[in-house]
Amino acid sequence: MIFQSLKMAWSAILSNKMRSFLTMLGIIIGVVSLVVLVSIVSGATDSVTEQINSIGTNLLTVRITDDKENPLKLSELSEIAEKEEIGETAPIAQTGATAKSGYTSDDITVYGTTGAYYNIQGLTLAAGRFLKKSDMDNNTYVAVLNQTAAEEIFGTTNVIGEEISLDGRGFRIVGVLAEEESAVSSLISGTLEAYIPYTTIIRMADNIFHITSFYASSADEDSMDAAESTLKTWMLERFGNDEDAFTIINQSALMETMGSVTNTLALMLGGIAGISLLVGGIGIMNIMLVSVTERTKEIGIRKAIGAGRASIMMQFLIEALMVSLMGCLAGIVLSVGILYLAGMAMEEMSFHISMGVVWVAVGFSVLIGVVFGIYPAGKAAGKPPIEALRYSG
C-alpha cells in the first residue's frame, strides 16, 4: 500500500511539473540558505579557531599598567616560570626603527624579548638560531629577522652572519624565522620584524625602561585556569593587592568568547533560513489545498470504488512529503555546488557541508511536509463521496 501511495503521489507530481517545481522552489531556497549559511559560518569559525590555536591556546598575556615605582625584573619572570602550573615566561617590548644594510633601508618593528618567546609563540626557524640566555646576560647586539625582513632588506633569506643596522646600531643576524602559513599571518605579512635581546632593547630605545608586558604559558593546555590563578595571586602579592595595576588576558577564554559569538551567529542565520523554509512549507500547503479542490472529483471516484479515509489521507500526505523531500534533496545538491564554488573563490577558507546541518534540513523538511500536508490531506479524506462525485470543476 505504501508503495502504491508513493507511485500515485509521483504520478500526481509529474502530471503538473511546472507547479510542482515552483512549489519545491520554496523548499529548495530554504534548504540552500540554511545549509550554505550555516556551513559558511562554521567554515569561517573553523579557520579562525585554527589560527588562534596555532598561536597557542595556553598563552597568558600580562600587561602592567601601574608598577608602583617598583618595576618587574627579568629575574622575577624566571621566578614565575619556576612555578608548577606555569610553563615559560617571556617579556615583550616593541619599538619602531629604521633598518639599514648597504644602500637599502626600510622601516622595521623591533621586538625585545628572551629565548622563551620562541616556545611560547610556537615559532619555527628557517635558518640559524633564536635568542639565547647568554645574549641577555651580555647585552649582545644580535638579531633574528622574520622572512619578510630578510627578503626586503637583503633580497635573500641566506643572511646568517650578515650585519644589519637598526637605528644606527650594528646587529649581527643569528637567525631567520620561517614564514607562517595561515590567513592571519598572511594578512599582516609585509611587516618587517626583528627580534633582539630584551636587555639590548632597553639600552637602544629611549622610551623602554622596564618590563611592562610579558607572556606566560601554562604547563599544559588543560591547566590554563590554574595557571591564570597562580599568576594572578603572584601578581597581586607583588603589586600590593591592587587589581587595577595589571591585566591578564587568557587566550582560551578568548576562544570561548569567540565560540559563543560564532554559535550565536550560526543560530541567528540558521533561524532566518528556517523562516524561509517555513514560507516554503506554507507554499506547499497552499498548492495542496488547490490540488485537493481540483481533484475533488478524483477523490469522489476513489471513494466510490473503495478508497477509505486513510488511503486518501495517505495519498495526499505522501504527495506533500514527497514535494518537500525532493525540494530538500535538490537544495542539498545545490548547496554542495555553491559551497564548492565559494571554496574556489576564497582559497584561504575551506567550506564543507556539516552533516549536522544536512540532517537538520532533512528533518525540518519532513516536519514541514507533514505539518503543512496534514490539513489539506485531512480535507481531502473528509469529503463525502456523493458530493465529491457530483463536483464539476
Partner: protein, 225 residues
C-alpha cells in the same frame, strides 16, 4: 434469499427550511441474478435510491439489507469496504481518472483491496479483454471514445467480481448505437449470472431489463416486465 431488500426506507433532505422526501417509505426487493431497472423522472428520488443501494449514503429510517447484511448502522470504514468488495459502479459520465491510463483505472479498486501485483495484472487484463479493450490498456481516457471510456468503467466495475452492478444512466452520454453496444455488455453480464441494477429515466433502456421498478416522488411501484 434476496440480494437487496428495502423496507420502509425514508430519506429526507432539508433544502431552504423545507423538508423534501427524496424517499418516502420505499420498499422493494431484488433477488440474486436479476436484471432490474429503476425508472423515474428527474427529481423522483432515483439518485437517492442509487446512493443508498451503493452505500454512498445511508437512509434516515427503515431497513436496507444487502446480501443479508443490514447496512444502516455501518460506519464509514465499513461502507467503504462494502463498496469496494460488493458493488461495481458504472456512471453516466464514466468517472475515470483522467491522468491515469485505462489499465491504471481498472487496477485501482484492486489496489484498495490489497491484491498482489502479479494477480492484479492478470485480473486487469482479463477484465479489459471481457469488454473488448485489451489493446487499449495504455491509453488515457482522453484518447478513447465515449463508448470505449464506458467499457473501461465497466471493466473497472467487474474486475473486483462484485455481487452487484449498479449503473446510473450508463447510456445517457452515448449515441444510440454505442448505447446499444453497452447494453449488449450488460446482457452478457446478466447471462453470466450477475445481478444488475440499472437506473434510468429512459423507457426504452428500462424495457431491456427483466423487471422494472418505477419510482415517483419518492414512492416505489413495481412494474412487472
Amino acid at each position: 434469499m434476496t440480494m437487496i431488500r428495502f423496507h420502509d426506507v425514508s430519506k429526507i433532505y432539508h433544502i431552504g427550511g423545507e423538508e423534501v422526501h427524496a424517499l418516502d417509505h420505499a420498499s422493494m426487493h431484488i433477488s440474486p441474478g436479476e436484471f432490474v431497472s429503476i425508472i423515474g423522472p428527474s427529481g423522483s428520488g432515483k439518485s437517492t435510491m442509487m446512493n443508498i443501494i451503493g452505500c454512498l449514503d445511508v437512509a434516515d429510517s427503515g431497513e436496507y439489507l444487502l446480501d443479508g447484511l443490514p447496512i444502516e448502522q455501518y460506519s464509514e470504514r465499513e461502507l467503504t469496504r462494502v463498496r469496494n468488495r460488493k458493488i461495481g459502479f458504472i456512471f453516466q459520465n464514466f468517472n475515470l481518472i483522467q491522468r491515469m491510463t485505462a489499465e491504471e483505472n481498472v487496477e485501482l479498486p484492486l489496489i484498495y483491496q490489497g491484491v498482489r501485483t502479479a494477480q492484479r495484472r492478470q485480473r486487469v487484463w482479463e477484465a479489459l479483454e471481457r469488454v473488448g479493450l485489451s489493446k487499449r490498456g495504455h491509453h488515457r481516457p482522453t484518447e478513447l471514445s465515449g463508448g470505449q471510456q464506458q467499457r473501461v468503467a465497466i471493466a473497472r466495475a467487474l474486475v473486483t467480481e462484485p455481487s452487484l452492478f449498479l449503473a446510473d444512466e450508463p447510456t445517457g452520454n452515448l449515441d444510440s448505437r454505442t448505447g446499444n453496444e453497452i447494453m449488449e455488455l450488460f446482457h452478457e453480464l446478466h447471462e453470466r449470472g450477475n445481478t444488475l441494477v440499472l437506473i434510468t429515466h429512459d423507457e426504452k433502456v428500462a424495457q431491456q431489463a427483466c423487471r422494472r421498478i418505477r419510482i415517483f416522488d419518492g414512492r416505489v411501484e413495481e412494474v412487472d416486465g
